[in-house]
């Protein structure tokens, strides 16, 4: 059955391509070939790098050289030194002079000591007792509210806890 059916189907002849289809294809192929020849006749240097005769490798090398020269120029003008270069070394006299200037500045600002150099110089007997059972350490009452700082105002004061504020009011 299948053989007969297949034969019957295959007996129908397919419609051939219209003549103009082949003619259009041939014409398109000739146009394409003409384009290819035109492109092939253009000097290769023009097609490789736009309107210049230099190749891409030469342009890349020139770019790297230019960037290197620019970096050197910036480096020398800004006085930058590489991390591995000589470091600044101060003599003990210079260090002492700088410390004296800094202390004078702190004194001028009405600070007793530099916050960065804060050390507990009180005697152990004068220190407040250590908190027990994880309780928050309490500062002396006199340190909670002092006179207004001439420069910082009230900003240098420690924050008053809510319970303390309520107690004050």
């Amino acid at each position: 059955m299948n053989d007969e059916f297949e034969q019957r189907l295959a007996r129908h002849a397919l419609r051939a391509a219209p003549p103009e289809v082949t003619a259009e294809l041939i014409a398109a192929l000739r146009v394409q070939r003409a384009d290819t020849r035109t492109q092939a006749s253009v000097p290769r240097t023009l097609t490789d790098s736009g309107d210049s005769g230099l190749s891409a490798a030469v342009w890349r090398t020139l770019g790297l050289l230019w960037a290197g020269a620019l970096a050197m120029l910036c480096w020398s003008n800004l006085g930058l030194e590489s991390p591995s270069g000589p470091s600044i070394r101060l003599s003990p006299e210079q260090v002492a002079e700088i410390r004296a200037e800094r202390a004078a500045l702190w004194e001028l600002a009405n600070f007793q000591e530099s916050p960065t150099e804060t050390t507990d110089r009180t005697q152990p007997s004068q220190r407040p007792p250590e908190p027990k059972d994880g309780a928050r350490p309490q500062r002396p009452r006199s340190q909670r509210s002092g006179p207004t700082h001439p420069i910082l105002g009230d900003l240098h004061r420690p924050r008053i806890q809510t319970s303390e504020r309520d107690a004050v009011s």
Partner: protein
């Protein structure tokens, strides 16, 4: 094996008569078939190296045509369903015979082929009207011979179902 680009025109003249109905059967649209044919040959003209090493140009051209048609069908399906519906319209896939019964059968066959999935349609076309073996169809479409055989069997079965009423009526 070097390929002479000047041979492309000869290939075009020789194989377009077979490639045209093959693409027409897949796309179901004559204008799109012409576009795909032109795309196929112009692409080969731009990249003549693709033909280098090809032993059977006819099979290679059918493979290119099939791939182009499948890409076209995928893009058309996702792009425009209305266009796909228009593609199902009646096309003149066969030469109209002199016998009126054969004319009716040819038109019914053309419509029934349009009902097959494109994969089955391609295998049925190459087997029935190009006379290829299932093995060479597999090589052409880059599928296994078993896959080609099953697609042919399913396709033929569906054609038989669709054409049976007319077949029994004519006999």
């Amino acid at each position: 094996m070097n390929w002479d680009p000047s041979k492309l025109e000869d290939l075009c003249r020789l194989h377009t008569p077979a490639l045209f109905p093959f693409l027409l059967n897949l796309t179901r649209n004559e204008a799109d078939t012409r576009d795909l044919l032109q795309e196929l040959f112009v692409s080969l003209a731009r990249h003549p190296d693709r033909m280098a090493g090809v032993r059977v140009p006819r099979a290679f051209l059918f493979r290119l045509a099939h791939n182009l048609a499948m890409d076209y069908l995928r893009s058309r399906n996702s792009r425009d369903r209305a266009h796909e519906a228009a593609g199902q319209a009646r096309i003149d896939l066969f030469n109209l015979p002199a016998n009126p019964d054969d004319i009716a059968y040819a038109e019914a066959l053309s419509a029934a082929l349009g009902e097959l999935p494109p994969d089955q349609r391609a295998v049925v076309h190459l087997k029935l009207w190009e006379g290829m073996t299932l093995e060479s169809i597999g090589q052409t479409l880059e599928i296994s011979p078993n896959t080609a055989a099953s697609r042919y069997r399913y396709g033929l079965e569906k054609l038989r179902l669709l054409l049976r009423p007319l077949y029994e009526q004519l006999n």
